[in-house]
C-alpha cells in the first residue's frame, strides 16, 4: 500500500478511536437533545383542554360582563378588590385585575398576582386585551369585526425576483437556521481538527518518533497522510452531526411548532458548504502543520493554534448583529479574511446572500492563503522538525524562513 495511504489510515483509525474525538462527536447531538428537553420543560407549551385557568376581575368601570371565556382562561367577576384578594389567597383564582372607573380615559388596568414575574406573560396580556376589546365593542360592530380588530394582521411577505417571479428563496429565519447550524459545526470541526493535528505532531516530536517516521517516509508523505487522515475523521464527525439533524429537528419541531416547517436551504448552500469545508480544512491544516513544526511539544503548540482556532468563531459571535445590520461593510471584510471566511459565508448565505464579486474574492484569497500557508509550513516543518526543547523566537522564524 502507498505510504501516504498507510499514514492516512493509521491517523484516521487512531483518531476515531480517541476518547476525546468520540466524546466531541457524541456531545453535540446530546447537548442539542438536552437543549430541546430543557426547552420543553421550561416553555409552557399548549395547555391541555381540561386545565383551565381562572382569573378574577373587578369591574369598577361597568359594562365588562361578557366574553368571560377566553380560550382556556376563565374570567370570574368579583364585586370588590377585597373579595378578589381573598380568592387569590385561597387559590380560587391565579390572579386578578381591576378595571378602574376612569379606565376609558386612562387605559390603566391594575393586575394583582402572588407570583414574582419579569413582565406580564404575553398570553395573559392578550386575554385581558381581548376581553376588554370584546366588551367595549359588543353590540356595536358584528362579531367578525370584533375578531378582526383583535387580530388585525397576518402578514404574508413574498419575495420576488428581478423579473417579477416568486423567488425560490423567501428569506427569514427559516433560511438562516441550516447555514447557521452548519457554520457552528464547521467551526467546531475546524477547531478540533487543528488541535488534533498540532497535538499529533507535537507528540511525535516530543517522543522523537518523528525521526523514525522520516527514516521511512518523506515529510511530504507524512504531512499529506496526517492532514488527509485527520480531515477524513473531521468529515465523519460533521457527517454524524448533520445526520443527527433531521432527528433533532423533528423532536424540536414538536416543541417549537411550525417554525421548522419554514426551513429552506439557500441557493448554492450545498456546493459552497462543501467547497468552504474543504478550503477551510486545508487552510487550518496548513496553519496547524506550521504551528506543529515550530512548537517543541503539543502542550506548547496548542495555545498558538488556539489563536486562529478562536478566530474561526468570530462570525458566530457577531451573528446577531449580522441579522440586524446585514449590509454593514464589516461582513465583507469577514467574508474575505480567510480564517473567518468559511463561517461568515455560511451565515451570510442564509441572511441576505453574498455578491458574486465578494464570493470570488473570498475564494481567491482562501486559495492563495492555503498555498502560502502550505509553502511556509512545509518550510518551517523542514527547518524546525528536529528542533526539540526550545521554541524559536518570532524573529528567528522569520529570518530562517527568509534564508531557508
Amino acid at each position: 500500500m502507498n505510504k501516504t495511504l498507510l499514514i492516512f489510515r493509521h491517523e484516521f483509525l487512531h483518531m476515531i478511536k480517541r476518547k476525546g474525538f468520540i466524546i466531541l462527536t457524541l456531545i453535540v447531538p446530546v447537548l442539542a437533545l438536552i437543549g430541546i428537553g430543557v426547552f420543553q420543560l421550561v416553555s409552557p407549551g399548549e395547555p391541555s383542554v381540561v386545565e383551565t385557568t381562572t382569573i378574577g376581575y373587578v369591574d369598577e368601570a361597568g359594562g365588562f360582563d361578557q366574553y368571560t371565556t377566553q380560550g382556556y382562561i376563565e374570567l370570574v367577576h368579583f364585586d370588590t378588590p377585597g373579595d378578589a384578594t381573598a380568592a387569590l389567597i385561597n387559590g380560587d383564582v391565579s390572579e386578578y385585575f381591576v378595571i378602574p372607573s376612569d379606565y376609558l380615559s386612562t387605559g390603566v388596568i391594575n393586575r394583582y398576582t402572588l407570583e414574582r414575574q419579569l413582565e406580564t406573560p404575553s398570553t395573559i396580556a392578550t386575554v385581558i386585551k381581548n376581553f376588554l376589546t370584546s366588551n367595549m365593542l359588543a353590540g356595536k360592530v358584528p362579531p367578525e369585526t370584533v375578531y378582526r380588530i383583535e387580530t388585525p394582521l397576518d402578514l404574508v411577505t413574498t419575495r420576488l425576483t428581478e423579473t417579477g417571479e416568486v423567488a425560490t428563496e423567501q428569506g427569514g429565519y427559516g433560511n438562516v437556521i441550516i447555514p447557521a447550524i452548519f457554520g457552528l459545526l464547521l467551526a467546531l470541526s475546524l477547531q478540533a481538527s487543528s488541535m488534533y493535528l498540532v497535538e499529533g505532531l507535537g507528540d511525535e516530536k516530543e517522543s522523537r518518533l518523528i525521526e523514525v517516521l522520516l527514516s521511512s517516509v518523506s515529510p511530504r508523505q507524512l504531512l499529506t497522510g496526517k492532514v488527509l487522515g485527520l480531515g477524513a475523521a473531521g468529515l465523519v464527525q460533521v457527517v454524524i452531526w448533520l445526520a443527527s439533524l433531521p432527528l433533532l429537528l423533528n423532536l424540536a419541531s414538536s416543541t417549537i411548532g411550525g417554525f421548522f416547517s419554514t426551513i429552506q436551504l439557500p441557493a448554492n448552500f450545498l456546493v459552497l458548504g462543501i467547497v468552504y469545508f474543504i478550503l477551510g480544512y486545508l487552510l487550518f491544516a496548513a496553519l496547524s502543520a506550521g504551528v506543529g513544526a515550530i512548537s517543541s511539544s503539543a502542550r506548547e503548540g496548542q495555545p498558538l493554534a488556539m489563536i486562529y482556532a478562536l478566530l474561526v468563531f468570530v462570525p458566530l459571535w457577531f451573528a446577531s448583529l449580522l441579522f440586524i445590520f446585514p449590509d454593514n461593510p464589516i461582513w465583507t471584510v469577514l467574508t474575505i479574511f480567510p480564517i473567518t471566511a468559511p463561517i461568515e459565508v455560511m451565515l451570510r448565505l442564509g441572511v441576505a446572500g453574498i455578491a458574486a464579486w465578494e464570493l470570488a474574492t473570498s475564494l481567491a484569497v482562501m486559495v492563495f492563503s492555503i498555498i502560502g500557508a502550505l509553502l511556509l509550513s512545509v518550510k518551517a516543518f523542514r527547518i524546525y522538525l528536529l528542533m526539540y526543547g526550545k521554541r524559536p523566537k518570532f524573529g528567528e522564524i522569520i529570518r530562517s524562513l527568509r534564508s531557508g
Binding site: K3, D203, I210, E211, V212, L214, V217, L386
Partner: protein, 297 residues
C-alpha cells in the same frame, strides 16, 4: 558497492558549522563505528545519511544510489532519542512502522512475533508502549529497526539504558546481522563497545574527521614506545629505557627513540630473567579518543 558513501558533506545551523567537509564510506558486512564527543556532529551526520535533513553541500549515496522511497525500505534506524506511540500496543506499533518500510501486514506480524520471542518480549506484545520499562521500549525500537531485513542498519547509542543481559543480547544480534552481510553503523560514546564490535571507525570532533580507518590499524598507529612487563626479581638497569612506571601487577618501561621492544626482550632473556608478561603497550581506543579530542580542543 559500499553500503554508504558520504562525500564532502557540510551542514550549518544558523551560523554554526556542525558538519564540515566530512567524507567516509561503510562497506557491506562490516560494523562501522561513528564516534566523537558530545556535539561533535555524529547525530547530524546520521540524520543526513537517513535523509531526515539535507546537507548544505556534498553527497550521500546509500547502497549505490541517492536515498529514495525504495532505498528507505532497505534502511533500519534506531535514533538516539527513543520514541513510539505511547497509547499503541506493542505488536500494532511494530506492524505499523514495519508497514512504512514496505512490509505487508501478515509477514510483519510473523516476523514481529519471531523477534519478540527471540528477545524474550513475546508475552508483552499486547501491552501498550507506555506500560513498558525504558529498556523494554528500547528493545521494541531495535526490533522496529531490523524487522524489515534492512541491508543497512544505523544505530545511535544502541546500548544506552540497557542492562548487561540485554546489552549482550543486542551484541549477539548485531554480530548475526554482520554475518548475514548487513552493514551496521554504530554511533556511541562507549569506547569499549566500539573496540569489541567495530571493524572500522570514523572519529569526528567539531564536525571534522579526526581519525578514519581500520580499528586495528589505528590502534597500531598509536602504539607507544613502551612495554608492559612482569618479571620475577629485580629489573635493574636496562639499556635504552628512559623511565620505569610501576603499576599494580606490572611495570611500564619507557624506551628512548632508538631502542625497540625486541632489543629489550633480548636483553632480559640474556640476563636469564623469568618473564611472566611482556607486551608492547597499545593504547585503548578511549585513550586515543581522549588524546585526539584533547589535542583538537
Amino acid at each position: 558497492m559500499p553500503a554508504v558513501e558520504v562525500s564532502n558533506i557540510v551542514k550549518s545551523f544558523v551560523d554554526k558549522v556542525v558538519v564540515n567537509d566530512l567524507s567516509f564510506s561503510v562497506a557491506q558486512g562490516e560494523i562501522f563505528g561513528l564516534i566523537g564527543p558530545n556535539g561533535a556532529g555524529k547525530t547530524t551526520t546520521i540524520r543526513m545519511m537517513m535523509d531526515i535533513i539535507k546537507p548544505d553541500s556534498g553527497d550521500v549515496t546509500i547502497l549505490g544510489e541517492k536515498l529514495s522511497e525504495s532505498t528507505k525500505n532497505k534502511l533500519g534506524y534506531l535514533p538516539e532519542e527513543r520514541g513510539l506511540y505511547k497509547k499503541l500496543r506493542v505488536l500494532d506499533s511494530i506492524i505499523y512502522l514495519a508497514s512504512l518500510k514496505g512490509m505487508d501486514r501478515r509477514s510483519a506480524e510473523e516476523k514481529a512475533n519471531e523477534l519478540l520471542n527471540q528477545t524474550g518480549m513475546l508475552h508483552h506484545k499486547g501491552k501498550k508502549i507506555e506500560e513498558l520499562s525504558r529498556g523494554m521500549g528500547q528493545i521494541i525500537q531495535f526490533i522496529v529497526s531490523i524487522i524489515h531485513d534492512p541491508e543497512l542498519v544505523v544505530l545511535d547509542e544502541p546500548f544506552a539504558g540497557l542492562d548487561p543481559v540485554n546489552t549482550e543480547l543486542l551484541k549477539g544480534m548485531l554480530f548475526d546481522l554482520r554475518n548475514q552481510g548487513k552493514a551496521l553503523v554504530l554511533s556511541t560514546h562507549q569506547m569499549n563497545q566500539v573496540e569489541e564490535l567495530c571493524d572500522r571507525i570514523l572519529m569526528i570532533n567539531n564536525g571534522q574527521n579526526i581519525l578514519y580507518g581500520d580499528l586495528s590499524e589505528i590502534k597500531a598507529r598509536y602504539r607507544g614506545n613502551s612495554v608492559l612487563l612482569d618479571v620475577v626479581g629485580e629489573l635493574g638497569e636496562i639499556p635504552g629505557v628512559t623511565d620505569k612506571r610501576t603499576h599494580k601487577g606490572y611495570t611500564e618501561l619507557m624506551l628512548d627513540g632508538k631502542t625497540t621492544p625486541q632489543q629489550v626482550l633480548a636483553h632480559l632473556i640474556s640476563r636469564g630473567m623469568v618473564i611472566n608478561r611482556f607486551e608492547v603497550a597499545t593504547p585503548s581506543l578511549n585513550e586515543i579518543f581522549l588524546k585526539e579530542v584533547g589535542k583538537k580542543s
